[in-house]
Every structure is written in C-alpha cells, then in structure tokens.
Amino acid sequence: MTSAAHEPQDRALVVLGAGVMGVGITTLALAHGVPVTLVDTAEGVLPVARGRIREGLRMAQMMGALPKDVTTGELTEVTAPAEVDWAAGPAAVIEAITEDAELKAKVLAEVAPAVTPGTPLISNTSSIPIDELAGAIGRPEDLLGTHFMNPSYLIPTVELIRGPRTGEAALRATRELLDRLRRKVIVVNDAPGFVTSRVLHPMINDAARVVEEGTASVEDVDALMRGCLGHPTGPLRTADLIGIDNLVDSLWVLYRRTGDEGCRPCELLLSKVRDGHHGRKSGRGFYTYERAM
C-alpha cells in the first residue's frame, strides 16, 4: 500500500493494540477528527473493538465530550503492522498493548524501521519506565510515553513521560497532537509508575486489602473515599475501570522496581485475576456490569 504524504491535519494516528486503552485512545482521536489506523494481530479483536469504539463515541456524546465542531475521523483496521500505510507518514504511533516491558519492546522494535524518523513513537503505559524500552529502537530520541486514563475520551488530562533520551522534536510533536485532542498535558520525568500510578496503585491495593481483611465492604470503601475525600469514583470502582489484570501487572512493575511492599498485589486482587473477574471490560470485578464494555 502506498500513497502520497498527507497534509498534517489528515495524517493518521497509528494505534497498536485494540484492547481497552487502544480502543479508548482511538475513540478520543476519532472524536476529535483525527483518522486512526488501529492494528491488532489477535483474531477476532478488531470487530469487538469496533463495537466498543461506537459505544465510546456515544458515551462521549452523552457526557458532552464529543466536539460539535469536528467531523469524526475515519477508522482503518488492519491485522498486522505490515499492512499500515506507513508511506502516508502517520502523525504518531501509539503502542497500547499489554503492560509487559518485553512485549512492548518487541512491538516497538518491529515497527520502528517502517516509521519515518522524527515521527513520535509513543508507548502508552501506566508504569513501565520509558527508558527501558528505548534500547529496543534505533532512535531513542523519538520515543516517549503517555499514560492516558480510562476512559481516555472522558478524562481531560494526560500524563506525558519524557525519557532521559527523548528529544525535543518528539516532545513538541506529541504535545501538538495532544493539543489537537484537546487534552491538558502534564510532562513528567521517567520513573516506575511516573506520578499517577506510583501514587494511585498502592492506594487501590490498600483499598482491596481493607476489603480482604473484612474492615469494610467494597461499596462502603468507595462510598467513604467518595463522600469523605472527594474521590470521583472510589478506588475499587477505579480498579474495575483500569482492569484488575492491568492493575496487578502495574503493581508488579512497581514492586519489582521499587521494592515497596505496598506495591505487592494483595491476595484479593490476585484471586480476581485468577477468576477472570477483570473489571468493567469482563463484566465483573469488584462490581458487576450490565455488559462488558
């Protein structure tokens, strides 16, 4: 597949991985008129993702997060990175696969040679230090991290991680992209869990531990954190939104890199992962849901 380079505003965002975060980022971009090429190699994932993106756009509309002055972007789905129209010069590539440093490095190494130098290569991660991935590509100056929250299209702020080898050009181009997506950007330095996960994930772990120890019910923990401390959803419903499997992966990343015992996933979280109760996306986590979303 070849085509002439597009005007900057028409350049697609390539999103690698059509899981919860890939779908959320895709929805956000489409809602703001940015075309997206969504890549997932697993069989049957893209049709499910298409439905979730449709639901996400409806949700964005309902919550007033769908810009009225923008035509929704076009979605292209491909099942392998080799099928992406790399010659068109994407605005950026966002890798949003499983929270596994080795897998992320492998995927980034696979696509980097096809991407025009100077195009931001973005790893969306909740906790993996960006510089751990920089060795996988020949151009560490093009690599940086984002930590979008879930749902990405409803949460207006994005944590942008600048690795020690990230270049100014990649940082600038990514900020421009996020400006177009009307996100408020906070740039932070590289570290396990950066800011939000480093602070939030041990707290959620403790909230689960409180339930595990019988101090309070799931509902009461969240009600207290909402009513007394102004937490918008409560930590355990937040865990369901993050995905309890992803949360546990992230806690292990933090624990292994910091040695902080507060980051060692508690038994209740581990049992939910074993039982397949991964949260909102599986229809059940700390709460049950009308339909997996």
Binding site: R58, Q61, M62, M63, G64, P151, G234, Y287, M293
Partner: protein
C-alpha cells in the same frame, strides 16, 4: 402516551434495577448523579440497560445525561421512544 400502568411498571423495574446494582434504595425523582450518588460512567450502563430491556434506541439529542438523571426522566424517555417506534 403509554398507560399509567405501563409507566408505573417501568418505574418499578428501574428502581429495582438500580437498587440491585447499587445496593441502595432510590426514589423516582432523586438525581442519580448528584453529590453522593452514582458515577456518571454508570449512565452508559443505563443506556445499555434501557435499550436491551425496552427494545428502544437512544440516539441523537436523546443521548444526553439529563435524560438519565432520574428514574422519572428515564420513564418519560422510554415512553416517548416506545410511542415513536409504534407510530
């Protein structure tokens, strides 16, 4: 307009659904999303629930949070959309 019996039935079903989901009793006119209430993310579950339970499609200008703020508002919308579908 649907009959008052039909609307009362929808109202009761929605109150039961909400109580089961939230472990909290609700009244027809209480704002679900006001302080101390539900997360606004729950609204999309309400959309899915209404569509699948009452065989309606919530779209366009109907797809806004104010139509899901109270059980009364949802009953009125379900009634209107069912009537429109039957025309």
């Amino acid at each position: 307009m649907g009959t008052s019996t039909e609307n009362a039935s929808v109202e009761q079903q929605l109150l039961s659904f909400l109580e089961e989901r939230t472990k909290t009793p609700w009244t027809p006119d209480r704002d679900l999303f006001a302080d101390g209430g539900l997360s606004s993310l729950f609204a999309m579950e309400l959309v899915v629930h209404l569509e699948s339970t009452y065989d309606i499609m919530v779209a366009g200008p109907d797809l806004q949070l104010m139509n899901f703020r109270t059980v009364n508002a949802m009953v009125a919308m379900v009634d209107r959309l069912r009537q429109a579908a039957g025309e």
